[in-house]
């Protein structure tokens, strides 16, 4: 694998992504969705009380990105994370283009790594856009009043901003784990429906499983548990242990999925 080869694959894959309507629609939804949500909250009297910070969305704009974080964890993060990862390999099967791709001067390692880097890049960009847009929507539509945290403490706007930003950063490891899972499915199944659909279904199933009072060790092994580890950032004193656990579990899923996916692609016999 060479850096130049990797760079070439990432450039080509990114250009392909930028030409797709799907990419534009999803990124536009990430930009405008939070504004629509904040505006809807502003005009209606009921509050999303079944989500953490739902009661505070009219009191402080900083509650808006946290409520969106809670909602998105259910299925939007698995979908955003696997949207490109779950399709980037199987698209070559769909268009029957593997032969063309692999007869160029780039090795399979270059192609694999380049595609994975592009998929991870898309997941990160989508989540960062959603985070920034949620925060901006909250601040502009609701305001910059202090936030009452999960211990009943008042967080100044500065503190609230940094905690909310950290909470969104904590979403990246499990999102990357879902991207890697999407990549694995995309390589093995050669189907984009499986690559994108299965991570979303698995995400929902894991969330349902976490509702049941099962063994704690098993609950922590679910990727989706890492989507809720930010709660400790908004208590006093804060607790970070679940964040570390979540990051380690996500890293384990990430490595295992990508290792199997690479093994499968490397051994694949592309003939014809």
């Amino acid at each position: 694998m060479s850096i130049r080869g990797l760079g070439a694959v990432v450039t080509v894959e990114s250009l392909k992504l930028l030409r797709q309507i799907r990419t534009h629609v999803v990124l536009a939804a990430c930009v405008f969705g939070p504004f629509a949500f904040a505006a809807a909250i502003r005009v209606q009297s009921s509050l999303p009380t079944d989500t953490l910070f739902g009661r505070s969305v009219k009191d402080s704009g900083f509650a808006v990105p946290l409520v969106i974080l809670g909602f998105a964890a259910l299925w939007a993060f698995p979908l955003l994370a696997s949207l490109v990862g779950g399709d980037i390999f199987s698209a070559e099967d769909r268009y029957n283009t593997w032969k063309m791709v692999l007869t160029r001067s780039r090795s399979r390692a270059d192609v694999f790594t380049g595609k994975v880097v592009t998929a991870l890049g898309f997941s990160a960009v989508a989540i960062v856009i959603l985070a920034v847009s949620s925060m901006t929507a909250g601040v502009l539509i609701v305001g910059v009043d202090p936030l009452v945290d999960l211990s009943g403490f008042v967080r100044s706007p500065d503190q609230a901003l940094s905690r909310v930003a950290l909470a969104w950063v904590s979403i990246l490891p499990p999102a990357f784990a879902f991207t890697a899972f999407g990549v694995l499915l995309s390589v093995v199944s050669r189907s984009s429906v499986v690559g994108i659909g299965v991570p979303v279904v698995v995400g929902l199933t894991m969330q349902l499983f976490a509702l049941v009072d099962g063994p704690e060790a098993l609950r922590r092994l679910l990727i989706t548990s890492a989507f809720g580890t930010w709660h400790g950032l908004l208590t006093e004193p804060p607790f970070y242990e679940p964040l570390y656990h979540g990051a380690v579990i996500s890293a384990a899923y990430f490595v295992v999925c990508l290792a199997i996916a690479y093994g499968s692609l490397r051994r694949r016999d592309i003939a014809g």
């Binding site: 009219k58 999960l150 049941v212 009072d213 704690e216 908004l234 607790f239």
Partner: protein, 142 residues
Amino acid sequence: MHRTTGLAIVITAALSSAACEFTPITQTRIEGSIGPTFANLVTLQMSWLGMPPMSTTDLGVNARCRRPSGQNAGSGEWTCSLLWQGPSGRILRDSYELFVTTDGCYTATASSEGIGPPTLKTDSGREVRNLLYAFEGCFDTT
């Protein structure tokens, strides 16, 4: 076939007993979280309403929680009774119904009338949310 069913029963039983033994949602953790959170919210609400300030230590909140289903561990419904010293020095008692999730977060909703309506009016006539009517909290499950 019988062996598979037997194995499934054994695994289910093992998982259920493990669930009972290893749940991190315990009475101590819930009481340790709701007591201080309630105290913080009381002091905050008093400042919003322009009442003389009281420290959380002065309030001396004492939380007692139990699970209506009997076993005092696990997620789901809990009830908590909070004893605390009000501004006039009287001992007050408030009850809350909690829903605790497996990740250690809960929603507490007041079940006694002393807490008042969902919104309150300040001296200046401004309407504020009654922070004690329903609130959320989270505790460490590790």
